[in-house]
Amino acid sequence: MTHQGMIIAGIALLAAGTYLMRFAGVRLGNRLPISERTQQMLSDAATILLLAVAATTTLFEGQHFAGVARVTGVGFALLLAWRRAPLIVVILGAAAMTALLRFSGVP
């Protein structure tokens, strides 16, 4: 197989596999018993995953520490969210704080 052929096959594998996981999750969800307890647990499972995504992407870039600027920026966003600031303020606040710290030389 040529290198170009292998890249095409690799992309096809990644695309098909990713779609299958999205689709399989939805199909599986439709087959599970729909007690209120299960519903609550499944919705909390998504919250758990999303917090884990947020925590790991805040603190790590690959397998290394992401730097003080990003962590402080997200921490500022957390404070804004806790004070019930509008979403736009949270988004812009995180970006502005991180950019400002980097501009001042914080890694």
Binding site: M6, I7, A9, G10, I11, L14, A15, G17, T18, Y19, M21, R22, F23, A24, G25, V26, L28, G29, Q40, L42, D44, A45, A46, T47, I48, L49, L50, L51, A52, V53, A54, A55, T56, T57, T58, L59, F60, E61, Q63, R70, G73, V74, A77, L78, A81, W82, P86, L87, I88, V90, I91, G93, A94, A95, M97, T98, A99, L100, R102, F103
Partner: protein, 222 residues
Amino acid sequence: MFFPQMQLLDKGVIKAIFLVCLADGIVGLSYGSLASADGFPIWVPLALSTLVLAGASEFLFIGIVAGGGSPFTAAAAGLLVNARHLPFGIAVKDLVGKGPSGWFGCHIMNDESVVFGISQPQLAQRRCAYWLCGNGIGFIWPVSVMTGAAIGQFIPDVSVIGLDAVFPAILIALIFPALRQRRARIPATVGALLSLLATPLVPAGMPVLFSLLGLLTWRSRK
């Protein structure tokens, strides 16, 4: 559902979805120009951004292949990063829709569309937010990646404007109300700690899956 009824949504939510799509667009520009700087022909980022539509796994794929790795290794690494879409699919099963539009509804599933979807109060609003964010990113991502790949030389540095902090910030802001309840807060905190501990030790994608162990501490309560 392809054209969600935006009037159902809070104005602040629509603006936030717009900003998140804009941020994704800037990341896409940067990714497209990096892919072309790495010597990839334009159809590689085009195929990845339309058919995979999951940023982190695309970066990984491009990075591994550019570093001389096998495209199959790269695909396997990308699939591991995307494995969280399976539990996401279970959680948003009522938001993606039925039949042919549901098949497309599955494709636009990502961290952002899921978080905007599950954080709305009513089912109609949840569907609408999921589709608006999913369609927005599904459109802007390939377009910006292509634009970046076409421009090539110009590589916007997303860290200068603090964009890397925007994505975790929006996730946290949107799940914050759910975290105010003990029922979700305890397992989510345990899960996040487990995934942080695992990050330096295991391949990308697995730490986030470890967070589901936090469900062991889940109890049905108010």
